[in-house]
């Protein structure tokens, strides 16, 4: 099952089995944002508490879904917690670039939010554990599972 191991890297299964930052935060001061994948019913709920300067002071996640969506949610929460707004924006761009290289072929232009991907700066960002998710792009129907948490985060950070 070599193909499967490309998708389900050990680090992904680890985040799936032991998700980080699960739970809720009091609203306010946190904001609650929900994201849905209508195709499979996956649901991500984010509680994000921002500092005055926009830094992610704290984040918690709830919801349900497949291993890819749950692991991606967990890894996202670990990657952005305590980070400045600029660092978070760069990470989102870099992650979406990682996914959109292949997604661009599948999704009609303008519908996947690709306008905010910056391949130049994205290539310079070290995504660390998140790079384990790049195997997902070989399984096109699962890309939406991986990007759900990130789209929901963008929604949470939108002014």
């Amino acid at each position: 099952m070599s193909g499967l191991e490309d998708l389900y890297r050990e680090i992904i299964l680890d985040h799936y089995r032991a998700p980080r930052n699960r739970g809720e935060l009091p609203v306010p001061p946190a904001h609650k944002t929900e994201g849905f994948n209508p195709l499979c019913g996956d649901e991500v709920v984010l509680y994000v508490e921002l500092d005055d300067d926009g830094a992610v002071r704290d984040i918690r996640t709830a919801g349900h879904g497949c291993s890819i969506s749950q692991a991606s949610t967990s890894m996202m929460s670990a990657a952005v917690k305590g980070k400045s707004r600029a660092e978070v924006d760069t990470t989102i761009r870099a992650f979406k670039a990682l996914m959109s290289i292949h997604e661009a072929r599948l999704v009609p232009e303008g519908s996947s939010g690709d306008s905010d991907t910056d391949e130049g700066s994205a290539a310079e960002v070290n995504l660390g554990d998140l790079e384990a998710l790049q195997g997902v792009v070989k399984f096109p129907v699962r890309i939406k599972c991986a990007t759900l948490a990130w789209n929901t985060l963008q929604q949470a950070l939108a002014p």
């Binding site: 099952m1 499967l4 998708l7 389900y8 195709l39 499979c40 019913g41 497949c66």
Partner: protein
């Protein structure tokens, strides 16, 4: 196709389905998603190819030889399909794109000309979205009320409050077989109750027609819809059956060529049924393909199809319980005689998409998701299930392959 013995062993039919020779991820293809769409026998593929190769022409118009052949083939298919479902006359069968379009036809042509604010349509909680959303759309437009027949925890309809639900209702819409639970609905008593209350009955036969003998008159239906592609036929063709007098009283659905006897600057006169409801050049090859699919199923015999699937479902239920115990939850009736060959399940805490992904690597195709029945999924309390469904070309080896692949999934995510 080879003749079929009276008993239900249909193993020899596999050879009629060329796609089953396919290798998927280096494994034999094990196709267990026939409730979504069925595979096609050579007879169906060749019937469609023959039309395109030998007598491709538009129907109901040309006076040349090929056009007459095409018209005869399409109308012959209609007559065969009508006989297959127990219709009194071929003209009661309208070709649509699929069951979904057929429901939309009823909602538009009958619903919009008949229903007004305060009228009630009764549906069941286990309907496919195809028999829900058209009525929601009509409710938004006309202010009709939608009432729901509940589903019990055993996955069958709870008809204890039926008379109250039907009081003042104009239509009962009910599936003959749930695409999630496999539950077979005994339509006749429901239809009798609906008729006694003055309501018409629309039956969604998309899951039942491919798998059970069908008699639309005996079940008491007024409207009956189904899709060709789930019964060995091509995509893009489905059928609305309705009693002739209902169809004659209904206004047309889509307007255009073929559906008129006269068009003037100040109006038009519609054609007689069934063509009144078939605007534009129809899906000719697909209608012929569906006719060939019906011919194939008739040769196998629907009683044999049913017997084969009951035996296979019984085998699957017992074997899966034996190998997985409580870790595997199967939704719907536990008696193979009370259900079709559709098994929706959850395995441990593993998400249906992850199960389906591992199964795919083993060459096993199952459906994962909400199966276009989100209201039912909410009642079951699950966001998604995996679903294996069997048809004439499946055998015990396929069910064994499913179980082996499920064990692989458990190991992977355990």
């Amino acid at each position: 196709m080879t003749p079929v013995p009276a008993h239900a062993d249909l193993t020899h039919l596999k050879a009629d389905f060329p796609i089953l020779d396919r290798i998927s991820h280096s494994k034999r293809l094990v196709y267990l998603d026939s409730a979504a769409t069925a595979q096609k026998p050579t007879a169906v593929i060749e019937a469609m190819n023959r039309y395109y190769r030998e007598y491709n022409a538009s129907v109901h118009r040309g006076v040349y030889e090929m056009a007459e052949e095409a018209t005869a083939a399409m109308e012959g298919a209609r007559a065969r399909i009508a006989r297959f479902i127990g219709a009194a006359e071929a003209r009661e069968c309208i070709f649509t794109r699929n069951a979904t379009e057929a429901v939309n036809l009823v909602a538009h042509a009958w619903g919009r000309s008949t229903l007004s604010a305060g009228d009630a349509v009764v549906l069941t909680q286990m309907e496919h979205h195809a028999n829900i959303v058209p009525w929601h759309m009509l409710a938004a437009e006309r202010g009709i009320e939608i009432r729901w027949i509940p589903v019990s925890s055993e996955g069958v309809l709870d008809i204890s409050g039926l008379d109250r639900l039907l009081d003042g209702a104009r239509l009962l819409g009910v599936t003959a077989m749930s695409n999630v639970l496999g539950t077979i609905v005994d339509v006749r008593p429901l239809a009798d109750a609906a008729h006694a209350a003055g309501a018409l009955v629309l039956v969604d036969g998309a899951q039942s027609v491919p798998h059970l003998p069908t008699d639309v008159q005996a079940m008491g239906a007024d409207f009956f819809v189904f899709s060709g592609h789930k019964m060995l036929g091509p995509t893009g063709i489905g059928v609305l059956w309705a009693r002739a007098e209902l169809l004659e009283a209904m206004p047309p659905f889509l307007g255009g060529g073929s559906m008129i006897t006269d068009v003037r600057l100040d109006g038009f006169t519609p054609m007689e049924i069934p063509w009144k409801f078939e605007a534009g050049t129809p899906a000719i090859a697909e209608a012929i393909g569906l006719g060939a699919a019906v011919e194939y199923l008739e040769a196998v015999g629907m009683e044999s199809v049913r017997a084969h699937e009951v035996a296979l479902t019984r085998y699957a239920l017992a074997m899966l319980a034996d190998r997985f115990g409580d870790r595997l939850e199967i939704f719907g009736p536990t008696d193979a005689l009370a259900r079709g060959s559709v098994l929706s399940f959850q395995l441990g805490g593993i998400h249906a998409h992850d199960i389906s992904q591992v199964l795919d690597q083993e060459g096993v195709c199952v459906r994962a998701g909400h199966h276009c029945a989100k209201p039912l999924m909410r009642i079951l309390g699950v966001p998604a299930t995996a679903r294996a469904s069997f048809y004439v070309y499946n055998d015990e080896a396929d069910v064994d392959a499913l179980a082996d692949a499920l064990e692989a999934a458990e190991k992977f995510f355990g």
